[in-house]
Symmetry: C2
Subunit: 146 residues, 2 copies
Amino acid sequence: MDETTGAIESEMAMLLRLADRNRRSPALESTLDRSAYLVLSVLEQHQVANISTIAEALRLDASTVTRQVVTMEAAALVERRRDPADGRGTLVVATPHGIAQLAATREVRSAVYADVVADWSPADRGTLAALLHRLNADLDRYARRH
Amino acid sequence: MDETTGAIESEMAMLLRLADRNRRSPALESTLDRSAYLVLSVLEQHQVANISTIAEALRLDASTVTRQVVTMEAAALVERRRDPADGRGTLVVATPHGIAQLAATREVRSAVYADVVADWSPADRGTLAALLHRLNADLDRYARRH
DNA sequence: GTCATCTATCTGTCTACTACAGTTAGATGA
DNA sequence: TCATCTAACTGTAGTAGACAGATAGATGAC
């Protein structure tokens, strides 16, 4: 077990804590909560998706996605329709309101991170973004293998 | 709003999701959960700490720490005593069992991350650890300012 | 010394997020 | 056409956390 890996682990533990704390930052008040934000991000890429596609993209249990989508439908962020090609399936699409909320939330959240890394050099920010991207890919691979 | 900041934001959103998912990885079964792990990490540095010190270190509400510590006491991970210098205060110390569990949990969690970044170069791992450290410091500053 | 005020903790209550087990309705192949 | 498979949904439960209010102990001005 090398030093660096231990450091990554402990930084990650603290990062998760602090990022969770940030979730309740006043800046994010009246924006989408994380689950709706992620579901709409998936819909942005797929246009239309069924429950299992969303669950798979976010590594969530389908029952979790069902409930999130039901809540989001009540908030008029998405619409649900029966899949004409498969009567068991539910097709989910973002509403214009959902799309607008996604954009607004993304704006606010990005502004928060812009503030957090305000005095980083562009090069460091680029490196961070790249390493996080790679880390996500590897975490995803790990989750699939286990 | 520059591109890179937007990328950092979306990578962070996904990172939080995937890391949360990892929390339930079979590898972590029968190790400390995140809250106990973090509380014991704080105690490792302070030896003895009262509730507010722990809350402050982890940016948690004191009521949250109270409950975590009560739970941990029931699991024999910590002991609580009345502060002799201040009858309102509660001093918390790790038990030998708590210390052993912290070490074991750290081992397992580090091994998971070792697996995740297995094919990274040592240089890239070092860069990741350093940038995460810096990001944590800046998130912490952000949380304090807002 | 005593009282008003401050502070450390604890309790009550609530929310967000998620999983697992079990049910149901529709699809599908022998 | 029936056994089986599968997509989604419902019931239930657990973790992690906040905020508001209660309580008991500390402290400073007088």
